[in-house]
């Protein structure tokens, strides 16, 4: 927004992406930084300008592209900030298409955040799915191709659920306005819309696409993906379904589910992907609790999460980029080779585990406190339990098995391992600095939340809370190191609910190739027997009849004529004396018959 002209931030990104191939190589890096920064400035200029902007009319439907308020602003702010960090991280990537895909993806996310009706929401929602899948495909492994297709199919199914929900809702309320639906009587339309949002938020059982795709994405692609899809869905849930009680148990289960699966992983990026599921569980539970403190907590946690999860994916992505692997069984003891990556990843780990002075501490606590205040003790205690698992996997397991522990590195891996290029380090430093800054200076984040006065009254740094957190974390570390020898990672994968559609796909293929093919063959044979054979017989008979019957008559006439002609020809040899002889003979014969008869 410049003075009174409202410029949609997605527009800047889309134009920037479309013009990117035309930008001369010399200034391309500057362009790559300038466009996200411009987008961020655009959003900064909207602060304090709450209202509705950018309304277009399409047939009888008003399309609202710009709803600026507390909730949309906090999400838009962090999305644009993450776009800057992610683009800097990927600055070394030469392939323009990767940047274009990433920016279109962010544009989709910002479009969803600012829209105020379902038609525009659907448009941007699909833009997100169709641009982000390229961030998986661009890794160009055979597995990435398959994984990307699964990602696309799952999101298409989610999009269809949403679309069905929107259409049914239009039948009920007569408009496409995107506002708070629940709590209130929820019809099938509301459930469908909520399911569509939950699929993108990776709420089990609709979550398996996330670890599947994120672990297969490109190094920079995963940094983008871990920030935008799920958090945009959290925004949509907070906008439409704040206070829906079912989200509290779902979110809590999600937090624990992610923790258990994360613990089983051997691939560090898959471990992190499961912790996205776990952390988004806190936000979903916060949305479900629905009090002002809880909504603040969900937004704050989304904000902090985007930064520290981005940082963690950048750290493990750097290891993957430099060594070519992200598996614990192929890494270890790298602290001498990649010390800066280690420290920066550790900061991400401490932030996600809500260590005091780091960002998670000031955001996660808000949701747990809201749970306690709403007297939902089961959820509050279980969410605290999940935070133990987070600390275990992210802050202890990842650093230990990559940078310390037994070195499983091949000689090739060891030779290649160094800290990543400067741009990647810069991006990590920015994210790490923000993680610490948010943890130390709470008003920065708290003033941006949808209910700033509630947030200002909340103080995470009470002696009790610090003591509680330190005890939980330190004794978790104690427990972890006690059993360290028994939890060595192995070369395994863990089956998740994607088993059903991955094996289901195989089953479909089998059904198509075996029983369906068999039936097809049978029908073919049957057709041959009762259709084709009589047909051929009839055809042969017709052919025979034609030849011997019809043609016989026609040809017989012709043959008779020919035969007669041949007989006559003998009499007409062309020699005059014979002709005279025959003529005289015939005349003589006629005379004799006449005389004697």
């Amino acid at each position: 927004m410049i003075s009174n002209v409202w410029i949609h931030p997605s527009l800047i990104l889309v134009l920037g992406a479309l013009l990117l191939p035309l930008i001369p190589r010399q200034i391309r890096k500057a362009w790559l930084v300038a466009i996200p920064v411009l987008t961020f400035l655009d959003i900064l200029s909207m602060q304090g300008q709450n209202g509705i902007y950018g309304v277009l009319h399409f047939m009888e439907f008003p399309l609202t592209f710009g709803r600026v308020d507390g909730l949309s602003m906090v999400f838009a702010y962090i999305m644009a900030l993450m776009c800057i960090i992610g683009t800097i991280y990927g600055l070394h990537v030469e392939e323009e298409a990767q940047h274009i895909a990433a920016w279109l993806y962010v544009a989709g996310s910002l479009g969803v955040i600012f829209c105020a009706d379902y038609l525009v929401l659907f448009l941007f929602w699909e833009l997100m799915a169709f641009s982000s899948v390229f961030l998986v495909w661009f890794r160009r492994r055979k597995e990435s191709l398959a994984s990307g297709y699964r990602y696309l199919l799952v999101h298409t199914a989610g999009g269809l659920m949403l679309l069905a929900g929107f259409v049914l809702r239009y039948k009920v309320v007569g408009n496409f306005d995107f506002n708070l639906i629940a709590p209130g009587p929820m019809g099938i339309d509301s459930w469908l819309i909520m399911a569509g949002f939950m699929l993108n938020a990776a709420v089990p059982p609709l979550h398996a696409w996330l670890p599947d795709a994120y672990s297969e994405a490109t190094v920079t692609g995963a940094v983008f993906m871990c920030a935008f899809t799920t958090k945009t869905a959290v925004y949509a849930l907070a906008r439409g379904f704040a206070g829906t009680e079912i989200l509290v148990p779902l979110g809590t289960c999600m937090a624990l589910y992610g923790v258990v699966y994360a613990f089983l992983q051997n691939d560090s990026r898959k471990l992190l992907a499961y912790h996205v599921v776990s952390q988004v569980g806190y936000m979903v539970a916060g949305v479900g609790i629905g009090t002002q403190l809880a909504i603040n907590g969900a937004c704050a946690h989304a904000f902090a999460h985007i930064l520290y999860k981005g940082l963690l994916f950048m750290g493990c992505g750097s290891v993957l980029q430099m060594t070519g692997t992200s598996k614990f069984t192929e890494l270890g003891g790298l602290y001498k080779k990649m010390p800066r990556t280690f420290v920066l990843t550790l900061i991400g780990g401490l932030s996600i585990s809500a260590f005091p002075l780091f960002s998670g501490f000031v955001s996660k606590a808000m949701i747990v406190s809201a749970g306690f205040e709403a007297h939902n003790y089961t959820a509050a205690f279980l969410l605290t339990l999940a935070s133990v698992g987070t600390f275990q996997s992210t802050t202890l397991k990842i650093p230990y098995y990559i940078w310390f522990g037994k070195s499983n590195c091949s000689e090739e891996t060891l030779n290649k391992a160094v800290d990543p290029p400067l741009n990647m380090q810069t991006a990590m430093v920015i994210a790490a600095a923000l993680c610490v800054f948010i943890g130390c200076y709470t008003p920065y984040l708290y003033n941006m939340l949808p209910y700033p006065e509630i947030a200002a009254a909340y103080d995470p740094y009470t002696a009790y809370h610090i003591s509680e957190t330190m005890q939980i974390l330190l004794f978790t570390a104690f427990g972890f190191f006690l059993v360290l020898k028994r939890i060595t990672p192995h070369e395994t994968i863990s089956l998740d609910l994607d088993w059903f559609y991955r094996k289901g796909g195989r089953a479909f293929l089998w059904i198509a190739s075996k029983p369906v093919q068999l039936i097809d063959n049978l029908v073919g044979e049957l057709y041959r027997l009762i259709g084709l054979l009589p047909l051929m017989f009839t055809a042969r008979f017709c052919s025979w009849f034609d030849w011997h019957g019809i043609d016989g008559i026609v040809d017989g006439t012709a043959r008779t004529v020919r035969g007669t002609g041949a007989v006559f020809r003998r009499f007409q040899s062309g020699q005059l004396q014979y002709n005279i002889l025959f003529a005289v003979t015939i005349v003589a014969a006629v005379l004799l018959i006449y005389v004697f008869a």
Binding site: Q471, L474, H490
Partner: protein
């Protein structure tokens, strides 16, 4: 610098481990003696060192459960989906 610091600590591993034990004890003692429990939400939390016990038990619980769950057939060979 980072590497030197880590190597410095690794050379004195026993000392580091002992300091950690001291730190654990200090955290529990501080909780018992100095921290006011007025912010506690439930009666359970008034048990001295409650969150230490919670942290330790939760850690072991998650590990044991995850391992049990993983060995139920959830963890499998890497080429499972290729065949």
């Amino acid at each position: 610098m980072i590497v030197k610091l880590i190597d410095f600590l690794r050379d004195r591993l026993t000392l580091v481990v002992r300091s950690c034990y001291v730190l654990l004890a200090l955290v529990v003692l501080t909780d018992m003696l100095f921290v006011s429990k007025e912010h506690a939400h439930t009666a359970l939390e008034r048990i001295p060192g409650f969150w230490s016990i919670f942290g330790f038990v939760a850690c072991i619980l998650i590990i044991v459960f995850s391992k049990w769950f993983g060995h139920m057939g959830i963890m499998t060979r890497e080429d499972y989906y290729d065949k």
